[in-house]
Amino acid sequence: MSNQPIRHQSYRILICAALLIAAALLPPAIHGEEMNTAPSPLLPLLVGARHADTPTSIAQRFLNDAAMGWMIVEYNGREAFSGGESVLVPTAPFRPGGLTPDGYQTVPVLAYSDIGDSTEQVSRSAFYDQMRWLKTQGFVTITPDQLTEFMKFSGQLPNRSVLITFDTASQSVYATGIPILKELGFSATVFLSTDGVGRRNAMTWNQIRQSHKDGFTIGCRGRSGRSLTRRTSGQTFEAHFKSVASELRLARQAIKTQVDDPCLFLAYPHGDTNDLVSAMAAKLGFAAAFIRRAGDNPFFADRYGIHRTPIDNRINAEQFATVLTTRIPADLN
């Protein structure tokens, strides 16, 4: 009889302890987070992979963005993780500018004139094969926004990044090119001359708006698409300057009005620019501008003269592969 109160007391303590343990475990359960996340925004998070985790699922869980899985792959140097294995999740760019001990990153930018069978165009089958090849080689399509951040040395891109661009908003691009890209999970940038929209064989503004909604960037190629560097005989320097300014300003304004998003990227018509036209592009608010000439695009390249490699029916599969250089060797040790 005398032991009874002590025993009851023990039971009560036991119950309280059990409830306390359960309560202590509640917060992490509610947040669905691991318990060992590092609070610093600069250091990577040290986490344990769960069964059947992938870089994408880990990125979704800890960075709230599945598309950042590539950062986990590149930081850890591996593409798969088994349950319980330690994984480091970078929370900030860890290699701005793509600088490594053995070189630096360059971003290939592909310039397609149109989808079709003429020499300057690329056929549907060749385009499909090229995109499939990019997919199988692990390339990731980026937007001009991402490229601009990279070139400002404030962003990092996947090692195998590529920017795909079209120099026309044609019906072939809309009906053939864009569906192929969407099927493969790719995006692209369409540079258009605003006067051509809605004309025969060209996309309508509705189609352009739809493409923009689907994640395609709409860039500008002037209002009429005429060369900005060529001065007509008899035209004064000042008259030419004013006509170029009007050409760019009206085109930019038209895209902003129709797409309801600022137009930040310019592909110089005919692929040409000069010091003055580049300066005008910068002054008018374009964040970057593209020429049509093969070349490297490291982070320190000219943002108003970004190289684009023209791809057409004359390029075979082997040549296409050589265009896709993503690393320039250099001793940066």
């Binding site: 059990a18 359960a22 318990m35 330690s86 300014a245 304004q253 010091d275 320190f300 943002r303």
Partner: protein, 435 residues
């Protein structure tokens, strides 16, 4: 009974854990908890050493910093952090110095690689980034500080070697070309090679009309207009050309949303000129679209503030004018539903029913609410009907009629109420006509 306490405690814990999904956290705790974390210190140290061996010093440093946080004894990590920080700082400094030396030796590629190496080791090292940006990363704009007495003309002469480029100074800085500049004004200028440009001989072109036509064909409307207005204004061909240019300008301005400018351009084109009517139509359509967008934005503002009545009133007016506006229709459907719901929540069932009379049959929530409102009104009608009967039995015919009329208002299909009203009125008439 008390013997069952431990069992109750275990069951309660399991239920609590299960309800909150904590079992998952228990497994997470075992596979990722403090014990697991501490056990990773060795693994991370090994990775840090491997990274350092491959030259990835910043990543190695991050690894050691992590080890310092999780290791039971962080002393070794602290030593490694200190060592690596010094090693990185020395290497960054050396690369910067070597880069400057290579620049002096006129070896830009080698210099660039040294600056890049410094940035790789320390991305926040500004001196290297400044060198890269200034020497290897071209940017088309430069800055210039104005001197006392400067004007765009003097700046153009000093910077471009050509005072006729004063308009460039003005354009790039949004200034009038003849504005006197305060000393020390920061000007943005294009980077152009300083060379006197070849003067374009200002002789009149032999055939301005042909030149202008050629520019028009190239879609250079401003250039074409500038030439056309210099040609003989009495020449009918010149007049047609000028009208065509104005018309094309108007069309481009409409697409760009510059509707006032388009209106001005169209005003320069005489009535009856081929294409003017179509451009006028396009302008009117664009004006209508802009007006629609404004009203829609206004209605959306009211909607967002919860003022559904105001929002709906604007949308209904808008839909009378532009019945095809899908955005307006969708927002009106939503506003109507929210307004009806608000009436319903405040027991204004008649108002709710009135609003829902125009509800879109495809809007499921509206249809469900409509059904609920009608059911509620029918039950209220029945209450008033019964009240009317009570009054009738008590020979208070006027109150009975009032109640039945209320019942009829709530439920227009309440035939008994309608019939009773008629009977009661007849009865009242008879009573009034009795001698």
């Amino acid at each position: 009974m008390r013997r069952l306490y431990p069992v109750v405690a275990i069951i309660a814990t399991v239920i609590l854990c299960g309800c909150a999904g904590t079992m998952n956290s228990v497994s997470a705790l075992l596979s990722g908890g403090p014990w697991w974390t501490a056990a990773q210190a060795g693994n991370l140290s090994e990775r840090a050493r491997s990274l350092e061996a491959r030259g990835e010093l910043p990543m190695a440093l991050d690894h050691w910093r992590l080890v310092g946080r999780i290791a039971v004894d962080p002393a070794a990590a602290v030593r490694e952090i200190s060592r690596l920080e010094s090693k990185i700082a020395e290497a960054v400094h050396a690369h910067h110095q070597n880069g400057m030396v290579e620049l002096k030796n006129n070896q830009p590629a080698a210099a660039r690689n040294h600056f890049l190496a410094a940035l790789r080791l320390d991305p926040t090292f500004r001196p290297a980034l400044i060198q890269i940006n200034a020497r290897f990363s071209p940017f088309p704009l430069a800055v210039h500080l104005s001197a006392p007495g400067d004007q765009p003309v003097t700046v153009a002469k000093a910077v471009f070697g050509d005072e006729e480029k004063a308009f460039l100074v003005a354009w790039f800085n949004d200034l009038p070309v003849d504005q006197a500049l305060k000393p020390g004004t920061l000007l943005i200028l294009p980077k152009l090679e300083k060379r006197p440009t070849k003067k374009v001989r200002k002789k009149k072109p032999l055939n301005q009309l042909a030149q202008s036509n050629r520019l028009l064909a190239e879609n250079d409307l401003d250039g074409a207009l500038a030439l056309a207005v210099q040609a003989n204004p009495n020449d009918p061909e010149v007049q047609v050309l000028i009208h065509t240019i104005h018309l094309q300008q108007a069309t481009a301005q409409i697409v760009s949303g510059l509707l006032e400018a388009a209106r001005s351009s169209l005003a320069m084109v005489p009535d009856g000129f081929t294409g003017k009517d179509a451009a006028e139509e396009a302008l009117q359509a664009a004006l209508q679209r802009r007006q629609t967008a404004l009203v829609l934005a206004n209605a959306r503002d009211y909607f967002d503030k919860g003022e559904y009545q105001q929002s709906l009133a604007r949308l209904e007016r808008l839909l009378e004018e532009t019945p095809d506006s899908m955005d307006a229709r969708d927002l009106a459907t939503e506003a109507r539903y929210r307004l009806a719901l608000d009436h319903f929540d405040h027991k204004r069932f008649l108002e709710a029913r009135k609003v829902l009379e125009k509800a879109d049959e495809g809007h499921q929530a509206s249809m469900t609410l409509n059904e609920t409102v009608r059911t509620r009104l029918a039950s209220l009608a029945q209450i008033h009907y019964r009240n009317g009967v009570k009054h009738f039995i008590n020979e208070d015919l006027k109150s009975a009629i009032d109640e039945w009329e209320t019942a009829l208002a709530y439920d227009p299909n309440h035939d008994n109420a309608r019939e009773n009203i008629d009977n009661a009125r007849r009865l009242m008439q008879k009573i009034e006509t009795l001698p």
